[in-house]
């Protein structure tokens, strides 16, 4: 995909180059199967070279799924790989289970153990997750070496796949077909996920988990589930591997897990083909470079250093950048010309009326909202909220707050007075030590942020938490997570499902509509990393509005906006209010806030100073002293 969209490509954005891509799929599959036929009839040497590369390709894809999309750098892939291989070898030899039947068993077992290991990622993350999974692999290899059933260091002889029946014998070796088709399926699975609406959600879990949660995604469950799938893929790779000969501990030691990571990093993490390219490079390098084995290892080590230090995006990333540079040079002139007409000032501040806004928020997110919309009264209520971080001083002390339906409720106070903490408590990110929170009359203590999002309570963050490598409209579409059923369930097959196409088109249309309604429509196809701060804030707002929530909490929405953008923001917020959305706004800029608000609550040192209309607040001597500094 082009990294920078010109207005021209934006015009055709709705019907992106999907059609030809999908049309090319059967062609690619046919070519692939023909190549498989060649491999299946090739000499043993060629076969083992290709098949080992393919098995590691599957492993690399399984790692890319969790490392590239979720940021969980697992060093446990080798462990799941080993479980799969040993299960197959032992099951076939000792219990005489049919190898075909062993595949679902292996997938179930490794998937389950993957889910258990994945659950650990909720407790530890980053480097420590890598280390814990590393130790998991270490333990498995030690067990494989020392247990009797695994045959010690000698290992076990893997089972053989039954040959094709005579009429099909022209196809060649069945193992080759099995491995190559499995690789195709693995590639297809990852490609499908990458092209499904789950992909932006996964990346947002990786980069901005609070944002994903606030959009209604049960992030812990998704993480565990995806890790289970990845482990099952590795397990299936182990099943395949057992047909290639001996299964012994040396083939699964920790260096295998690391090598899989090396493959992904060298090939290009989070790219369609990178893991495969990396796997081919790493597995074929020793076989094709025929020099002194130590020299060969030295060259390999040096190459991997060079790869990660000089080309951190991997081979595919490098190739893509080269390609992009060439195309942009060719398109350079037009690009420059269009950029001029596209300055933020021109695009965000045109006074086009955001007419689409009505349509967007007209569908309330939850049934509760519908029945409640008639009733007037409190929609968010906090009663005696007390909160402190750890054993430190209390940040909130007995805060009570009532927000009326359809009101814009301002929340002001000096730095450190507990405004953001209160927002986090209402949104469910922090659990209060005491006190009750009611949303739409329902007690929501203990309900997760994603659960509250499903109730129709959405929020923005002080520092916009978005996925920088995705476009603004992809980021906005994350906000639709709760509005489209079965995003997670259908992800594996998404582009192949007609319903997937329909829903994706709908989501894309809704997202650009929402961006247009906040007057950021000109930036739909830009990556968030490339847009100015103001647009980032507006994107965040659009991702909240797109779901049609009943209540929105805005944490310092005007921060970092220019005065024109602030005026524009005020207009949008008024619009939202007109549609009956309740807004809770935390803000410093009282000049922006006061004209909008029905009610303002002033917090100081964790306590409510007063709640009243803007005029009452302005007139209050205490407020003038603590907040306005007079």
């Amino acid at each position: 995909m082009t990294s920078k969209a010109t207005p021209l490509s934006r015009a055709v954005a709705v019907g992106r180059p999907w059609s030809w891509r999908v049309a090319a799929i059967p062609l690619v599959v046919i070519v692939y199967l023909a190549l498989t036929g060649l491999v299946a009839n090739a000499s043993i040497n060629v076969q083992s070279l290709v098949l080992v590369a393919a098995v590691f390709g599957i492993l690399a894809f399984s790692l890319d799924l969790v490392a590239g999309m979720l940021g969980l750098y697992s060093l446990g892939q080798g462990g799941f790989f080993a479980i799969g291989a040993y299960f197959t070898a032992i099951g076939a030899a000792n219990f005489e289970i049919d190898v075909a039947l062993l595949l679902p068993i292996v997938i179930a077992v490794t998937g389950l153990s993957g889910a258990i290991i994945g659950a650990m990622s909720l407790r530890v993350s980053g480097l420590y997750f890598a280390i814990t999974t590393f130790i998991f692999t270490l333990v498995l290899t030690v067990l494989a070496t020392d247990l009797r059933i695994t045959g010690g260091t000698q290992g076990l002889l893997g089972p053989a796949l039954p040959d094709f029946p005579g009429s099909l014998s022209a196809l060649g070796t069945p193992v080759a077909w099995c491995v190559m088709i499995a690789l195709l399926l693995a590639m297809g699975l990852i490609w499908n996920v990458r092209n499904s609406p789950l992909y932006p959600v996964l990346l947002s879990i990786r980069d901005a988990e609070p944002f994903a949660e606030a959009a209604g995604a049960r992030t812990s469950l998704i993480k565990i589930g995806i890790f289970g799938v990845s482990a099952a893929m590795a397990g299936a790779a182990g099943w395949l591997f057992s047909f290639l000969g001996v299964v012994s501990p040396g083939q699964f030691d920790w260096s295998v897990s690391l090598n899989i990571l090396v493959m992904v990093l060298i090939g290009g993490i989070n790219t369609t083909l990178g893991p495969l390219v990396g796997a081919i490079f790493v597995t074929m390098f020793p076989a094709t470079v025929n020099i002194n084995p130590w020299l060969q290892e030295i060259v390999y080590g040096a190459l991997s250093i060079i790869a990660v230090t000089m080309f951190p995006e991997g081979i595919i990333g490098l190739a893509r950048r080269r390609l992009a540079a060439r195309t942009s040079r060719r398109a350079g002139r037009t690009e420059n010309a269009t950029l001029l007409t596209e300055t933020p000032a021109a695009s965000t501040l045109d006074s086009r009326r955001p007419a689409d806004l009505d349509r967007i928020s007209s569908q309330p997110e939850s049934p509760v909202g519908e029945q409640g919309s008639a009733a007037v009264g409190a929609v968010v209520e906090c009663r005696d909220i007390t909160f402190g971080y750890g054993a430190g001083p209390k940040v909130l002390r007995g805060v009570s707050l009532t927000v009326e339906r359809g009101h814009i409720h301002g929340l002001i106070g000096p730095n450190g007075s507990g405004k953001s903490t209160l927002a986090n408590v209402i949104a469910g990110r922090l659990t209060p030590m005491a006190g009750t929170i009611l949303v739409k009359g329902m007690r929501v203590n203990g309900l997760s942020p994603s659960g509250r999002a499903r109730l129709g309570l959405r929020r923005t963050f002080q520092a916009a938490e978005l996925v920088r490598e995705l476009t603004t409209s992809q980021n906005v579409s994350i906000g639709l997570f709760t509005r489209v059923p079965g995003i997670v369930r259908r992800a594996a097959l998404w582009p192949l499902l007609p319903s997937g196409w329909r829903d994706q088109a709908w989501m894309r249309a809704r997202s650009s509509e929402a961006l247009r309604s906040v007057e950021a429509g000109a930036w739909t196809e830009r990556r968030v990393g490339d847009v100015p701060h103001g647009i980032e804030q507006l994107t965040q707002l659009a991702s909240v509005c797109v779901a049609g929530p009943d209540i929105i909490i805005l944490d310092e929405p005007a921060t970092g906006l220019s005065s024109r953008e602030v005026a524009h923001l005020a207009r949008i917020l008024t619009q939202l209010k007109a549609q009956g959305v309740t807004l809770i706004i935390i803000e410093h800029q009282t000049r922006f806030l006061f004209p909008l608000c029905d009610k303002v609550t002033v917090l100081n040192a964790g306590e409510v100073v007063l709640t009243g209309t803007a005029d009452e607040v302005r007139a209050d001597p205490v407020v003038r002293q603590v907040y306005l500094g007079e």
Partner: protein
């Protein structure tokens, strides 16, 4: 009983030294130098090669130590610094330090061949009887050296300006540079010290393992486990405790369960430790995203 405790302490002090070497690098740069075992190996190989060329063992040992420091510093310059300069690429160092390890290991194999070579004995094989336990002078020397090195390190860290600077950089590298600390220079020194620790470990273990280019990965792994058991990611000296514990456990398992138990028993212990006290081991502050901290605060309620 006493026998396996003592011999466990002896081998554990080697693991502890390497664990501390890993931990010292991690302390300053938040990177695990997976080629640490290879710098230990370099010390062994160099010492063996130089002494077999006819020089005095002490001179050879000194050259070995210098060699391991050089290898460790090179690891920083070649495999760590470029990655940290890119900084968005968080796990690249994992690949590059391992790549560096492969280069060093196979370089040694290429130069000196893959077979074991004799290593000069600094002390004769005299054994010392402690009660009913027997310990060689070599083993005693290992324990004493490890204790001295760990203590010295801790004294330096706690009392000297440089040590305190290390504490400051470990806690807040940005602020440390804002008070005038050259973080690159400090990291270089830290890697050199780590190389020294690994080199000392090599000289201590060399007489019993002989000089083999593939020693590095075995001892590197055990050093890593020592660091993880002890919680050395937070405080380097705890890696030494982890190493001693690991050594005693391994020897104890051998003596009390069966002769292969040392292969798996330490891992079992490590897993149990990780399951029981992940907070104790996994609590290196700023590595965990901030929301985890918030979650802890909420969970504590």
């Amino acid at each position: 009983m006493l026998q396996f405790v003592l011999s466990g302490l002896a081998i554990g002090s080697i693991y502890g030294l390497i664990g501390m070497a890993l931990a010292i690098c991690f302390y300053v740069t938040r990177v695990i130098n997976f080629s640490q075992g290879q710098s230990m190996m370099a010390a062994i190989m160099l010492t063996a090669a130089i002494s077999s060329a006819g020089y005095s063992p002490l001179a050879a040992a000194a050259a070995g130590l210098v060699g391991s420091c050089v290898i460790a510093v090179l690891a920083y310059v070649v495999a760590v610094r470029p990655i940290l300069a890119l900084d968005r690429f968080s796990f690249g160092w994992l690949v590059s330090t391992l790549g560096f390890a492969a280069v060093v290991e196979n370089g040694a194999a290429y130069l000196w061949g893959p077979t074991s070579r004799p290593f000069p004995a600094f002390l004769n094989e005299a054994s010392i009887h402690l009660g009913d336990a027997v310990l060689t002078e070599q083993q005693l020397l290992a324990i004493a050296t490890a204790i001295i090195a760990a203590t010295l390190f801790e004294v330096v860290r706690k009392t000297t300006l440089f040590g305190k600077l290390g504490v400051a950089i470990a806690a807040d590298p940005e602020m440390a540079s804002a008070i005038g600390a050259n973080t690159t220079a400090v990291a270089l020194v830290a890697f050199a010290i780590a190389g020294l620790f690994a080199g000392i470990a090599g000289l201590l273990i060399g007489p019993s393992t002989f000089a083999n280019p593939y020693l590095g990965s075995t001892y590197g792994t055990y050093g890593f486990i020592a660091m993880m058991i002890g919680g050395g990611t937070e405080k380097p000296v705890t890696a030494m405790f982890g190493g001693l514990l690991l050594g005693v456990l391994a020897e104890g398992a051998n003596a009390l369960i069966n002769s292969q138990a040392s292969d798996w028993f330490p891992f079992l212990v490590l897993v149990v430790i990780l399951i029981v006290t992940p907070r104790g081991l996994f609590n290196a502050g700023h590595l965990l995203p901030r929301f985890r901290v918030a979650a802890t605060a909420a969970a504590r309620r």
